[in-house]
Symmetry: C2
Subunit: 232 residues, 2 copies
DNA sequence: TCTTAATGTGTCGTTTGGACACAATATTAC
DNA sequence: GTAATATTGTGTCCAAACGACACATTAAGA
């Protein structure tokens, strides 16, 4: 038995949602297509799955191709497979979403791919069902950031609490009390005072923190079960 | 442009995790395969995606084929696509998970497919990566049930608080204080007293409740954001 | 030196949650 | 028919968490 008979093979694509944070709002990295179909229009960065390539590997390949980055936060989101989602030919798209530090990518590579950071608030029209994908990814981001210490993936190695605060306000599109937020974040024990201060500030300089990597690994999953750890 | 050139088409399958609750523990509906490959072994119910069929429709078709049920709770879980996950031929599997009332399915159909309910605690070996899928689905169930009123999908139309309590203990594999649980559930306002009592009970008969459908629809998403509703 | 803007820390009252007690109901044993 | 038993419904208490808000500290620029 070397093949399954009587079954249709389909084109399988990977599309990547790439979020960044510019200090003020959440941004999305999209490309202006200089290839068919839909040349000249905006879309997510994507590609096809290679015959001998795992899905996650494919996603990392595509992300690396655009940003030059490795070892970034990537998570499979959902698979979009409506029959007519791609007018050229039926294509199943496995969507991944990635969080990166907006200042860490390879500018050259991004320029070469004709990619741009766009604001979520006045996002250009995207091709196919890509806008649905983005909407879905945003919901996932909100969901996860509320339960897991995932926001740090969007910030530099060291960061201040006011930065983190602005990030969360941007994610949820709402104001959060600065003082209560600070208390809550510090109570997690995930932040380590680096002893340095943010020199960019115009007024009082904020303390620069870094993540406690070990506690981060530990807490990442224990956040999941805000019900105490299940046994099975 | 009628096709994308130079790209490999892959077989796309759908596999379904089907959970039920027998009043004591969470059960999984699996089939004993009487077809190749892996004839005689246990696996999830699945099938291939048809050329002209949306993924969700395919999942519903497969679920209906096995259980005779329509309009059940189905949610896309993840897509499994490791190169060698299926030894016959590379196959991408889009996994869905469904919650059903364990007493509502078509017994005939289940027998005809050689399907059985198995306990999660002594689950038989499953083929390919199906055990990973189940593990993943269980985590999703725990995740969602903690935030959304999703457990009801596993119970009959009317149910008692002690039933619900046992269900949650089964989901999380831990004991939950009966009284605190009751208080918490009632405080959601989702339960409506039907005025009837559970006649099956050996001792004091428990109140039968039903879901407040409207509040259920409302709350289903508002549970998401335990941070107040975001604006964007 | 004063003003201003941003940052760090603290207080207070309410709400929520976990631990636990007790009363009510229905079946079974005697 | 009554007592014992198991199960269910409701309540109390205390500690922890949370939201709303005040005040002190720091640094740049007028």
């Amino acid at each position: 038995m070397n093949q399954y008979p009587h079954s249709t093979r389909l084109l399988v694509a990977i599309d990547c949602i790439i979020f960044g944070f510019d200090g003020d709002e959440i941004k999305l990295l999209v490309i202006k297509r200089n290839f068919e179909p839909e040349r000249g229009k905006w879309s997510l960065m994507g590609g096809f799955v290679n015959q001998e390539e795992d899905l996650e590997v494919g996603a990392e390949r595509i992300l690396h191709e655009l940003t030059g980055l490795n070892n970034i936060y990537v998570e499979q989101l959902l698979t979009f497979g409506k029959v007519n989602r791609d007018p050229v030919e039926r294509t199943i798209s496995v969507v991944f979403f990635a969080l990166i530090n907006i200042h860490s990518h390879d500018e050259e590579s991004v320029r070469a791919h004709n990619a741009h950071w766009v604001s979520l608030k006045n996002m250009p029209q995207l091709i196919f069902d890509h806008e649905k994908m983005v909407q879905n990814a945003l919901e996932r981001l909100r969901y996860k950031a509320a339960l897991h210490p995932i926001g740090f993936e969007l910030l530099p190695e060291t960061f201040t609490i006011p930065q983190l605060h602005k990030l969360y306000e941007a994610i949820y599109g709402m104001q959060l009390d600065r003082r209560n937020f600070s208390r809550k974040i510090l109570s997690t024990g995930l932040l380590v005072d680096t002893g340095e201060k943010n020199e960019n500030s115009a007024t009082k300089k904020a303390i620069l923190y870094r993540l406690d990597k070990e506690k981060y690994e530990d807490k990442f999953h224990s956040f999941w079960y805000f019900m105490p750890e299940p046994s099975a």
